[in-house]
C-alpha cells in the first residue's frame, strides 16, 4: 500500500481540485481529507456518510462555582490566560478556547474545585464516494489540536484501506508547515506539492521542501497556472531541483477549474480542457514514478 499526501505550503494553489482529479483518475483509492481546518474535498466528491464519530482530544478545565473559594491560585498559575477573575459577586471561570488542557490548575486547586472532563473537538466520518471510500473530519469552531485530528484521519484511512484492500491512500493535506502538516506527512511514501509561479508560491515551496527534507520524505513538485508567469515557473523548477525535489509537471491556467468546482465535479469529469489533459499526464507520470498500478484507459 502506498500513501501520497498532496500539500501546497501556500493556500489557494489548487491542491483540493488536483486531489479530486487524482481521485477520479485512480482505481479505487482510499481518500482522506486532512485539511480539517477548511475541508473542501467533500464539495467535489459528495461523500455519503456511513458512520460519524466524535473526536475527543485531551481535557478541559471547568471550575465548579459551588466549591470555588476565589483564592485565585488557578489564575496565578495559568500560563495561557484561560482563567478569568470574578466579575462582581462571581467566581473564577475558564475561557474554553484559551484552555490548553495542561491540568496545572486542576492539580493545584486547594479545594479540588476544578473538574477536568474530556474535550470534544469535532467529528470524523467514514464515507463512500463515487471514486472510493473516504475519511474526512470537521473540527468544532474554536477547537484546537487539528494535528491530532489529522493523525486520526490518516490512521482511520489506513485501517479502512487495509479492510477494503485499497492499494493507494490519497491524502489532501493542510496548508502551511506547522503541526497539521507535520502530522499529515510524516511516514508517507511521497509528498506531492502543488505550487504556483509567484514569489509567494516559491517562498512557501522552499519552506515546504525544507520540511520534507527534514523528515526525509520524497517530494514531487507540480506548478499550477504556470503560464501566469513562465519565467517564475522556470525559477521554481530550478530551485525545486536544487532542493532535492522532482518536477513532475505543469498545469496551465484554466478557468474551467472554477467552473467544475461550481458544478461540484472534478475537472476530469467536467471537461476535456487543457488542465484536465495536463493533470492526466501528471498523474500518469507520478504513478509511474511511484510504481502505482494504473487504471486502464487513463
Amino acid at each position: 500500500m502506498k500513501e501520497i499526501v498532496i500539500i501546497s505550503g501556500k493556500g489557494g494553489t489548487g491542491k483540493t481540485s488536483v486531489t479530486a482529479a487524482f481521485a477520479a483518475l485512480c482505481n479505487h483509492a482510499m481518500l482522506a481529507d486532512c485539511d480539517v481546518d477548511a475541508a473542501d474535498l467533500h464539495l467535489l466528491l459528495d461523500p455519503e456518510i456511513q458512520q460519524s464519530h466524535p473526536f475527543i482530544s485531551g481535557h478541559i478545565a471547568k471550575i465548579d462555582g459551588q466549591r470555588c473559594i476565589n483564592c485565585g491560585k488557578c489564575f496565578s498559575l495559568c500560563r495561557f490566560d484561560a482563567i478569568n477573575p470574578p466579575q462582581t459577586n462571581d467566581k473564577y471561570t475558564v475561557t474554553p478556547s484559551s484552555c490548553e488542557g495542561c491540568g496545572v490548575c486542576v492539580h493545584f486547586c486547594p479545594e479540588q474545585a476544578i473538574e477536568f472532563p474530556e474535550r470534544r473537538c469535532g467529528e470524523w466520518y467514514h464515507s463512500e464516494t463515487r471514486f472510493g471510500p473516504m475519511i474526512h473530519a470537521r473540527l468544532d469552531i474554536g477547537a484546537e489540536n487539528s494535528g491530532k485530528l489529522v493523525s486520526l484521519v490518516r490512521q482511520q484511512a489506513h485501517k479502512l484501506a487495509e479492510d477494503k484492500q485499497c492499494q493507494l491512500i490519497l491524502v489532501d493535506g493542510p496548508p502551511g508547515i506547522g503541526c497539521p502538516v507535520i502530522a499529515a506527512t510524516t511516514g508517507a511514501d511521497a509528498v506531492f506539492v502543488i505550487t504556483e509561479p509567484t514569489y509567494s508560491g516559491k517562498h512557501d515551496l522552499l519552506r515546504v521542501l525544507e520540511l520534507t527534507k527534514h523528515f526525509s520524505i520524497p517530494a514531487y513538485v507540480c506548478i499550477n497556472k504556470w503560464d501566469i508567469n513562465p519565467s517564475m515557473a522556470q525559477e521554481i523548477q530550478i530551485s525545486a531541483a536544487k532542493n532535492g525535489a522532482t518536477l513532475i509537471g505543469t498545469i496551465p491556467y484554466d478557468s474551467k477549474i472554477t467552473s467544475a468546482q461550481i458544478a461540484a465535479k472534478t475537472i476530469i469529469e467536467y471537461d476535456d480542457s487543457i488542465s484536465a489533459l495536463a493533470i492526466k499526464e501528471i498523474w500518469h507520470n507520478f504513478a509511474k514514478a511511484l510504481n502505482i498500478e494504473q487504471n486502464q484507459g487513463n
Binding site: 501556500k10 493556500g11 477548511a38 469552531i141 508547515i177 506547522g178 509567484t198 508567469n229 472554477t258
Partner: protein
C-alpha cells in the same frame, strides 16, 4: 485600532489585501504578518527588516543529580513530554507546551526552565507614498522549520506592535488555534473570500468563528466575477456587510506573481481602501457597539 485580515480558505488574497490596506492608509501604520508558517507580506513591502529577534518558549531542564525519579513530573504532564522509566527521567522538549506544571510539582526542585527558540521576529519600516505619505512599520513572525507550535510566535509578533497605532494583522488561514490567536482582541476583522464553492464553504466556517468569539466583522470578495453569486447571496441573507468587491483581473495575478502588490496593478483602489479604513474606525468607535 487593530484590524485583522482573515479567511477560512488559504490563497484568497489576505496578504495582498493586508499590504494594500497598509499602503493606502493616510497615517502611520503597522503591518504584522501573523501567517507565521508561511509569511509572505515582506515580499510585497520594500522594508529593510533590520531588526531580528528570537521567539522562545520555556522548557524544563533536568538536574540529574537532584532527581530521585519519583515520576511526579510525568504524571502531571498532559502532553507526555516527560517520562520516568526505572531510574531514568527523560524530557521530550518538542512535545512540551510550557505549562510549567512539572516545575511546580517536582519535590526535589530538580527541574528548571530554559528558553528554547521556536521562531523569529523580523521588523523594519519604510516610507510609503500611495497618495498619502506615511510610515509603514512591518513585523514578520516566522516559525522555525520543524517546530509545531505557532500560537506563541503569533502572540509574540502581536505583542511587539505599538498599541496606539493603526495595526493591520495578516492572519494565518483556517479557523483553528493559529487563526484564533491572531484575531483575538482585534477591534475588527475583515474576512477575505472568493466567489467559489470552496470560498463560500470556508467563509461560513470563518463567520461561525467570528460569531463564537463575538468579534465584529465584514466580508471582502476578491476575484469577483471568477465564480458565481452565492457568496453575495449568503452575505445578504445573513446580514453580513459585504464592504468591497475586487474584480478578477489578470493584471493583479501577474503583478502578484512578480511580487508586486495590488495597488501597483489597480492604483484606483487606494481611495476605496482609505475610506474603508475610515468606515471601520467609525464602526468601532464605541468599542462594543456598531458591529455588523
Amino acid at each position: 485600532m487593530k484590524i485583522a485580515i482573515a479567511s477560512g480558505k488559504g490563497g484568497t488574497g489576505k496578504t495582498t489585501l493586508s499590504v494594500a490596506l497598509a499602503q493606502a492608509a493616510d497615517k502611520n501604520v503597522q503591518l504584522i504578518d501573523c501567517d507565521v508558517e508561511e509569511p509572505n507580506g515582506h515580499i510585497f513591502i520594500d522594508a529593510q527588516l533590520d531588526k531580528h529577534e528570537d521567539v522562545t518558549i520555556p522548557i524544563p531542564v533536568l538536574d540529574k543529580t537532584l532527581c530521585n525519579n519519583c515520576g511526579k513530573c510525568g504524571e502531571i504532564c498532559q502532553f507526555n513530554a516527560i517520562v520516568t522509566i526505572g531510574d531514568k527521567t527523560m524530557i521530550f522538549d518538542d512535545m512540551c507546551h510550557s505549562c510549567g506544571g512539572c516545575i511546580l510539582v517536582c519535590p526535589q526542585q530538580a527541574l528548571t526552565e530554559q528558553q528554547k527558540t521556536i521562531g523569529y521576529l523580523d521588523s523594519g519600516s519604510n516610507t510609503i507614498n500611495c497618495g498619502q505619505v506615511h510610515q509603514l512599520s512591518f513585523i514578520k513572525g516566522s516559525i522555525k522549520i520543524g517546530e509545531a507550535m505557532s500560537p506563541p510566535v503569533i502572540r509574540a509578533a502581536k505583542k511587539k506592535a505599538d498599541q496606539n497605532q493603526l495595526t493591520i494583522i495578516d492572519c494565518p488561514p483556517g479557523t483553528s488555534c493559529p487563526m484564533m490567536t491572531a484575531v483575538c482582541d482585534c477591534d475588527f476583522v475583515l474576512l477575505v473570500t472568493e466567489p467559489t464553492p470552496f470560498g463560500l464553504h470556508d467563509l461560513k466556517l470563518a463567520v461561525e468563528t467570528m460569531r463564537c468569539m463575538d468579534l465584529p466583522f465584514a466580508v471582502i470578495v476578491n476575484r469577483d466575477g471568477c465564480g458565481d453569486e452565492r457568496v453575495s447571496e449568503y452575505c445578504s441573507a445573513e446580514k453580513i456587510p459585504l464592504v468591497l468587491k475586487i474584480k478578477d483581473d489578470r493584471r493583479v495575478a501577474t503583478a502578484y506573481s512578480r511580487g508586486e502588490g495590488l495597488l501597483s496593478a489597480l492604483p484606483e483602489l487606494a481611495p476605496k481602501l482609505r475610506s474603508l479604513l475610515d468606515d471601520i474606525s467609525t464602526w468601532t468607535k464605541p468599542a462594543t457597539e456598531g458591529k455588523q
